[in-house]
């Protein structure tokens, strides 16, 4: 019987992120390095850091790690690896090298599981053209895995939170729902197919998305992960000094997401994300409660949210749908800055 990693996180594990509001307050107190070669740092609340090393090349750095979300070590490794390079893609970059970050209780879990996790990550990263050239492990419980990743991007083609313009439309490349479905799975409220779909979504790379963004000259994007669609959209709106309006009925969702939310299967992380967005968000009168909470559901290895000039959106969308993102959809618009940075209807 293969070891079930989910047994190590049975005590809730309601998404391991520090609540976004507290995190921002904490980070705001850190002294910022003043260096003109640092092109993107934490002050714009972006997905990764960017450092210029020449006129043609800038380095992109990011890291991500978390406790198990699924039972099987190999699948956990695939998801963690896919997730860790996603931020590089969200900046329009190409990932190159990675380091393993592993916390593993070698006395509580068979070492085979450790090697399965690493084998999966190595395989997935090789597919993406990334080499793992080192890493670090310590003994810890529950286990956690992820990577530190470095990539490259042309300094004039960095895609940040700051480039969204009035008149752009917003395209989301993957359906929402992974947080809710994983929580539902732990409570045996999902079907096997629903779980498998969620896993497939989490294992899908955002590389085609990044390639297409560069092809169509998209200047603003983020990947939708721990702060939910609303949290990440808000960061983009603030970073760009605009108002983002999202239409929840246009947002694609994995099968089972809505009905689980209706039954109250709403992870605590969604409430923390709501805490973070609500001061700057206008929720339309009559917005369905479940849709509101789905918008705040913390995602793992989510899709890209990109702001695209309206004239290019149709073609970009078709290409996305043809290259492994069949559910990609236009979900909102960018408007001039209004009273609320984010509007959800």
């Amino acid at each position: 019987m293969p070891f079930d990693l989910l047994t190590t996180v049975e005590t809730g594990g309601c998404s391991s992120k520090i609540p976004p509001r507290q995190l921002e307050e904490l980070l705001a107190r850190l002294p910022l390095q003043v260096d003109p070669k640092i092109l993107v740092d934490i002050s714009t609340h972006d997905d990764a850091g960017v450092y210029k090393i020449s006129d043609e090349t800038a380095l992109v750095l990011t890291t991500d790690f978390f406790p198990p979300l699924v039972s099987d070590g190999y699948e956990f490794g695939l998801i963690a690896a896919t997730n860790s390079i996603s931020d590089i893609y969200a900046m329009g970059g190409t990932p190159l090298l990675a380091l393993n970050i592993m916390m593993f209780p070698s006395s509580a879990i068979p070492l085979e599981v450790y090697s399965e996790i690493l084998r999966a990550a190595t395989t997935r990263l090789h597919e993406a053209g990334v080499s793992i050239i080192g890493g670090h492990s310590i003994d810890d419980y529950p286990p956690k895995y992820g990577l530190a990743v470095i990539g490259v991007v042309h300094p004039d083609r960095i895609i940040t939170n700051a480039g969204a313009r009035e008149g752009d439309v917003l395209i989301l490349t993957k359906p929402l729902g992974t947080g809710i479905i994983l929580a539902g799975h732990r409570l045996k409220m999902t079907t096997q197919e629903q779980l498998e779909e969620a896993k497939r979504l989490m294992m899908r790379l955002n590389n085609d998305g990044a390639r297409l963004m560069q092809k169509y000259g998209v200047r603003s994007a983020t990947d939708v992960t721990g702060f939910g669609l609303a949290g990440h959209a808000l960061k983009m709106a603030r970073g760009s000094g605009v108002t983002i309006k999202l239409n929840m009925s246009a947002v694609p969702m994995a099968d089972g997401t809505y009905s689980l939310a209706e039954q109250g299967c709403i992870p605590g992380a969604a409430f923390r994300n709501l805490d973070y967005t609500e001061r700057e968000t206008l929720f339309a009168e009559g917005l369905d409660y479940s849709l509101k909470m789905i918008a705040h559901d913390a995602q793992t290895s989510g899709g890209l949210l990109m702001a695209v000039a309206q004239a290019k959106a149709g073609e970009l969308l078709s290409e996305l749908q043809a290259s492994g993102h069949p559910e990609a959809a236009v979900i909102g618009v960018v408007e001039a800055k209004g009273d609320a940075a984010l509007v959800l209807r």
Binding site: T11, A183, L187, G264, L274, K292, Q310, V330
Partner: protein, 205 residues
């Protein structure tokens, strides 16, 4: 009174049980929820507030007892009197009609007949009261808006009366007819889809 005991349960089980308890309780039955961890208490409080349910919280040591006075559906349900002024006549709003022109012919089976029918359609369309709010043209339908189209004058008339005329840009580029469209705005899938979605009626000849 209905009791929902969530002690020992981890998120989001307390919320699921709460919601279940509220739906199962009779409409006037009090529901009491026992919660033993602050995170779940905070989430349940938020859930109840957002769904406009009145409740009180009493804390006894590490246990919180949340009492919801009104049971029934945990979704937003308003009293009729909040929204309906019942002694006023029912108003029917203006219906929003959108016409979708998807080819140069109306119907299929005989092309010559179809062409004649499409011309007849436009001739009759301008007599419709009220006028459609928009006419969207896509695929070969965009050719109906060409400068030598037999129905161009009808389209112009509709435009003059305030009907929105929307031509699919992808289609225009495909047929290479950009310079030959004197009426209408160049539109895209997003706008066209929204027009169709928000329509009360869609007429597609």
């Amino acid at each position: 009174m209905k009791t929902v005991d969530t002690r020992g349960l981890t998120c989001p089980a307390p919320l699921i049980r709460t919601r279940q308890g509220l739906t199962e309780a009779a409409p006037d039955e009090t529901v009491q929820i026992l919660i033993d961890n602050p995170a779940s208490l905070s989430n349940v409080r938020r859930y109840l507030t957002d769904n406009r349910l009145e409740f009180t919280v009493r804390e006894e040591g590490s246990l919180a007892i949340v009492t919801v006075e009104r049971g029934g559906q945990a979704d937003v349900s308003a009293n009729e009197t909040d929204y309906c002024v019942t002694n006023e006549p029912v108003q029917t709003g203006e219906k929003n009609t959108v016409v979708a022109i998807t080819s140069e012919r109306m119907g299929s089976g005989d092309d010559e007949l179809g062409t004649k029918l499409m011309i007849s359609f436009f001739r009759t369309l301008v007599m419709l009261e009220p006028a459609p709010s928009s006419v969207v043209f896509y695929n070969a339908g965009v050719k109906m808006a060409l400068d030598d189209s037999p129905v161009l004058e009808h389209i112009r008339e509709l435009a003059e009366r305030g009907t929105g005329i929307y031509l699919c840009t992808t289609c225009i580029n495909h047929f290479g007819i950009k310079e030959r469209l004197p009426v209408g705005s160049f539109s895209d899938m997003y706008q066209i889809l929204n027009l169709l979605k928000d329509a009360d009626h869609i007429i597609r000849p």
